[in-house]
């Protein structure tokens, strides 16, 4: 037997496609979500100017000492290196002078 009219098929389709009931907890879930802030996991208070300013201030308090400390450390490292360079340079100069003086004395004694 064939489908002679669309009406028969349509009737069957209406039966097959009739509304399916929503899950029993569907409405409570929806209503519960309406009580949550918009944007899902993001907290709206996070966007408030005061909160942003506070966050910026906290970051500054946390970061600035680290930056200052880092600068001080670097300056200290530069200073220590410069000091070592200076001492090395003075030592080399002293030794060269002493050597030259000793050689001059040695040659003077020979001449004498």
């Amino acid at each position: 037997m064939n489908w002679n009219t669309d009406e028969e098929l349509e009737q069957v389709l209406r039966g097959s496609l009739r509304r399916s009931a929503a899950p029993p907890d569907f409405a409570p879930k929806v209503l519960a979500k309406t009580r949550q802030p918009a944007g899902g996991s993001r907290m709206p208070w996070l966007r408030r100017p005061f909160t942003l300013a506070l966050a910026a201030a906290l970051m500054a308090v946390a970061i600035i000492p680290a930056v200052v400390l880092d600068h001080q450390r670097r300056e200290a490292a530069r200073g220590l290196k410069a000091k070592q360079d200076l001492l090395t340079a003075l030592a080399i100069t002293r030794d060269q002078l002493q050597h030259a003086r000793n050689e001059v004395r040695k040659n003077t004694r020979i001449i004498q």
């Binding site: 300056e75 530069r78 200073g79 220590l80 290196k81 410069a82 000091k83 070592q84 360079d85 200076l86 001492l87 090395t88 340079a89 003075l90 030592a91 080399i92 100069t93 002293r94 030794d95 060269q96 002078l97 002493q98 050597h99 030259a100 003086r101 000793n102 050689e103 001059v104 040659n107």
Partner: protein, 192 residues
């Protein structure tokens, strides 16, 4: 005729060329072939910074070095050691020697002995009472040392610093420059 003119031109230009500040560029390239090298360039703020780290003024040694450094404008050292002779040439040092031949510089010591050639120069100030600079050029077959101190310096004060402030005795018992490993590292052998 042309040669005479060229030579004359060169002699007239040379003082102008070398009247400028000490120029180490002909030496800096030697670091690439040297077994070890020491390169110190301290002037202006860096020199003050170094002096600031010398320790407290209660320390006598620190005080004497600080006093010495206070009158300096800069201190420059290039010291190289080579594996074998011939790795540098006199032409590398010639510009410096030519610079130090200017009338303003006075050679106070010169030693030529067994392949070694050491010259010590001072730069008297205008009134002649103090020194405005000190330069040492020392060459040996396998080593080369150049020191230039710009500013007021008394060589005697330097020699007094033996063993102080951790300034190492760089030279060995024979008075020659000992081995220096790496940049700005001095022999840790302490003096008297």
């Amino acid at each position: 005729m042309k040669n005479i003119l060229m030579t004359g031109l060169l002699f007239s230009i040379a003082p102008v060329l070398f009247a400028q500040d000490f120029d180490f560029h002909t030496l800096d390239k030697l670091a690439a072939v040297a077994k070890s090298s020491t390169n110190v360039t301290l002037s202006g703020d860096m020199l003050k910074l170094a002096a600031g780290f010398l320790g407290s003024d209660n320390d006598k040694d620190a005080a004497s070095i600080k006093a010495m450094v206070a009158n300096m404008k800069g201190i420059y050292v290039r010291a190289y050691e080579f594996d074998k002779p011939g790795q540098y040439s006199e032409s590398d040092v010639a510009p410096l020697r030519a610079y130090l031949k200017q009338p303003k510089w006075s050679a106070i010591m010169e030693v030529k002995d067994d392949g070694e050639w050491t010259q010590v120069f001072v730069l008297p100030t205008a009134n002649g009472t103090k020194l405005g600079g000190l330069a040492v050029v020392s060459t040996e077959p396998t080593s080369l040392t150049v020191v230039y101190i710009d500013g007021s310096i008394d060589p005697a004060d330097l020699e007094k610093l033996s063993g102080n402030m951790g300034i190492p005795e760089i030279k060995g018992l024979d008075g020659k420059l000992g081995n220096q490993k790496g940049d700005n590292k001095a022999d840790k052998k302490t003096g008297k």
